[in-house]
């Protein structure tokens, strides 16, 4: 689905969709989800949670909270995005707090805190474009690696599979896969040079 930030028709339509959700229209709720799920995952939840399953769960919790509080939403000119992004940030923090080692997890998260989500649709569009560029650079770096390293990294990070599933697909033991992944990440880190 095209980004809601780049689609002028969506921007004009959003207020009507929100009104329909308030009136109980589930199809309108589906529309909002499809419009904002991708940007919320890419710009807010994955940078804070990493694990794809945790990020998708937090995404669902974000929309549940948003739909329940929608009557209190007031558009201040930037549409639904800033409000949704703030909810998503809180849900990401909730995930960390709920984990067994919540205190240590929160400290590390705060120490490595990703930048705050973009406030306006224009900023979000720019951030999504930048994220796409970064993803293309990552894929380029992966293409220069040994095929087995590239496969291990794609399965574990780009497809989001667990280590057991990755080991099964590569037909290796779990411990062997862990070593393979370590070598692959180190190789990638040598090849990866983030832009300043």
């Amino acid at each position: 689905m095209p980004s809601p930030f780049a689609d002028p028709i969506w921007r004009a339509e959003e207020a009507r969709v929100v009104a329909r959700v308030r009136a109980g229209d589930r199809l309108a709720g589906e529309q909002l989800y499809r419009a904002y799920a991708g940007p919320l995952l890419r710009l807010v939840l994955r940078p804070r949670l990493g694990d794809p399953a945790a990020a998708e769960d937090a995404l669902a919790e974000t929309f549940i909270a948003a739909f329940r509080a929608l009557d209190g939403f007031e558009d201040r000119g930037a549409g639904l995005w800033p409000w949704l992004a703030r909810i998503a940030v809180h849900k990401a923090m909730d995930v960390h707090r709920a984990r067994a080692r919540a205190a240590r997890g929160c400290e590390r998260l705060e120490a490595q805190a990703p930048p705050p989500p973009p406030e306006t649709p224009a900023e979000a569009l720019e951030a999504l474009d930048e994220a796409e560029l970064q993803a293309a650079r990552v894929r380029a770096a992966l293409s220069g690696l040994h095929a087995r390293y590239r496969e291990a990294l794609e399965l574990r990070f780009l497809q989001g599979l667990g280590r057991e599933e990755c080991a099964r697909r590569l037909a290796v033991k779990l411990g062997t896969f862990d070593v393979l992944l370590l070598r692959a990440v180190r190789a990638f880190a040598r090849a990866w040079e983030p832009e300043e």
């Binding site: 589930r26 991708g38 549940i64 590390r108 040994h146 780009l158 411990g175 862990d178 070593v179 370590l182």
Partner: protein
Amino acid sequence: MSDLRHAPDPDAPPTPEEEAAAAALAGALEPRAPQAVPPELAGALAALRAAAPAAPGQAAPARVLAAVPRPARWRWLLPVGGLATAAAAAALVLLVAPPRPAALPAPGRELLLAQAEAARGSPRPLERAMRGYRREVYAALRTRYGEAP
């Protein structure tokens, strides 16, 4: 950018350092209770995670859609009220509108011929035909409007 010259053989036996580091990395990637991310790999790991396609399921999960607010109970009265209003307006129109006229029988051939005879000076056939026609007209009026008070 190619790392093929420097990459260790993927199938080479791991060193003790690699075994320890591999276990640490697996712990760092554990979703439920992550350990500290190795600092020298933090940037690379963040880049890899961020590169994953942001493509959630095509449809919103059922529990998300279940959170869409239900319409307030009283709202169902709106269409019902609208129907009632429309029905009342229709009834009012029917009450104040003039009634449709009764459908009177058309004069038969015998009556028309009798009229022609009367025009030529012979009124008797017309009188007979009119008696029958009047009966038909009165019957139609009674059907439409009921008996005369």
